[in-house]
Amino acid sequence: MDLLQFARGPALKFALIVFCFGVLWRLTAVFLLRHERTLSEPRHPVFRALMGGLLAAGSRSAPHREFIRRTGYSEALGYSYHIGLFVVVLAFGPHIAFLKSLFGVSWPALPNNLVTVIAALTLTLMLAVLLRRLTHRVLRLLSNFDDYFSWFITALVIVTGLMASTHFGAPYEQLLAWHILSFDALLVWFPFGKLMHAFYIFPSRAINGYALARKGASV
């Protein structure tokens, strides 16, 4: 079995199993914890509070006007590399083929050169993100192994993907193998680190938003 076969075969299988197992473990363990009963009289009927939660799930996608002056740069940076990641993951032909094999649906791809350029831009933005994390006093204090490792493994997937798509540095099948292996590693790490925010973001916003909205507080 060559490296590519290993990456596509047992490694990918292991990674998918760990991913599903870990994600469900982590989500379930949180939601199985005690649920505090709310007994205070809500300000609004449940329906309005639920709408508030839904509103928060969407509205926190953009900062409140009052905060933009201070957070605009990080929002812009965060948005741009996330969009880059989404485009690269979802609009590259071979990725679509992979997703189709998992979910059975597919959609048209963007031109490879365009995706390659976007991937390169995304990587550049991620470097800016890392630089910011390393230099900003708040981020430097908050950051732990998880932050840096999650960054590293995401960047690694992009770097190997770029190398594979540009045939840079080694025979294609090796680059492809490294790319898939690094993705396997990302899947394995995913449930254990901050990458989980992909699953938490909307429930967190909606549930916190609901808790605030039932008090009539701002979301």
């Binding site: 870990g22 071979p94 992979f98 045939h167 898939i180």
Partner: protein, 373 residues
């Protein structure tokens, strides 16, 4: 074949058969261009070849389907084929030779004795090793035995086809005959692999010709394939590559993309990881090659090509699951089982956390009560 022919130079033989110098140079130039050599190299090759003595070639067939030989003999340039048999002295080939039985085996023994240390062995097919190698015998002897004996006096071994090069289809899981590639069994001879299922005829002849011309093993890649023919992937040279680059893919064999000749990546084309000359040399005298006829590359010139998942699943997909390739159904089953286990473990972890919480609360309360007392 008569022994005297082996002692003649190729030039003498060609002259005797009335093949003009000019026609031979033309042939060599074509061969040179195939090998990506400069045009003048063709003339030099012709001169060298004319002066060379025809080497004795012993062609061994083991676990094979004869497709490689079929490929070779269905060369679309009969005169070239003719030349090949004039350039070498094919002293043993149990499929092609007129002799049979003891006389055929005697021809092999004779060729080996007469050209010991100089003859070329061409192997077609993998070598079964399980159960004492009994799955492939000729004249009462196993393939392992014949190969080992024949290889001893060989100048070099050329493995024609993926079976002899990498094990090929007999080698495919579960490999009941214990098939091995030649390179697993012979360690002390130069081995040139001309893989493919079958290899392109011109690639076989070209490789032989290069060896005869230079007397040396050509530049090989990590799978011991001549770099001149196996230096690029099909994908690198594919005329459909622009569609890959544009992100235009055929999704089924009869959709618009397929009719428009778009890239076959999503239909499982192994072109990106397959090193061969199909996209440039093509088949049937340069007529076409699989991708040109609308079928994805199977990757037949790569080791283990039979075991790399479905031919029709994209390279970027997993190679496990019921059909040898990940399908949504497999994914759902696999993910579902893993997720269910995850939920169970989480329930355990939460129960433990709750239990610990209770214990600690009690501890604290006890401590508080004691303090108050």
């Amino acid at each position: 074949m008569p022994e005297y022919q082996a002692r003649q130079t190729i030039g003498e033989l060609l002259d005797r058969q009335g093949i003009s110098r000019r026609a031979f140079i033309k042939y060599c130039t074509a061969m040179a261009s195939l090998m990506a050599l400069p045009p003048l190299a063709g003339r030099a090759m012709a001169e060298q070849l004319r002066a060379a003595r025809r080497p004795s070639v012993i062609y061994l067939s083991f676990q094979e389907c004869t497709g490689c030989l079929e490929s070779l003999t269905r060369s679309f340039s009969p005169s070239i084929e003719n030349m090949i048999f004039n350039v070498i002295s094919l002293d043993y080939d149990d499929t092609l030779m007129a002799a049979a039985g003891h006389r055929a085996e005697a021809a092999r023994d004779q060729a080996m004795k007469a050209n010991y240390g100089k003859y070329l062995v061409v192997v077609d097919g993998s070598v079964p090793t399980a159960d004492g190698g009994i799955y492939n015998c000729a004249a009462g002897r196993t393939a392992v035995d014949i190969l080992t004996e024949t290889a001893k006096g060989a100048a070099a071994i050329v493995c024609v086809g993926t079976c002899s090069s990498f094990g090929g289809i007999p080698f495919a899981d579960p490999n009941p005959t214990g098939a091995r590639p030649v390179s697993d069994l012979i360690g002390d001879k130069p081995i040139i692999n001309v893989s493919g299922c079958p290899p392109i005829p011109e690639v076989i002849t070209g490789t032989l010709l290069q060896f005869v011309t230079t007397g040396q093993v050509p530049d090989l890649d990590e799978h011991r394939r001549p770099k001149v023919f196996f230096g690029n992937t099909i994908h690198d040279r594919c005329y459909r590559r622009p569609f890959f680059d544009q992100g235009k893919f055929a999704k089924t064999f009869d959709d618009e993309g397929a009719r428009n000749g778009w890239c076959l990546f999503e239909l499982g084309c192994k072109g990106p990881t397959t090193y061969n000359a199909c996209a440039t040399t093509k088949w049937n005298g340069g007529t076409s090659f699989p991708i040109e006829s609308g079928h994805p590359c199977l990757g037949c010139s790569e080791p283990g090509f039979w075991d790399k998942g479905s031919f029709y699943a994209a390279l970027s997909t997993g190679t496990f699951g019921r059909a040898g390739n990940l399908t949504p159904r497999d994914a759902a089953k696999l993910g579902g089982a893993a997720a269910a286990t995850g939920i169970a473990v989480a329930a355990g972890a939460t129960a433990l956390a709750r239990h610990r919480r209770k214990v600690r609360m009690t501890d604290i309360q006890t401590a508080d009560t004691q303090k108050e007392e």
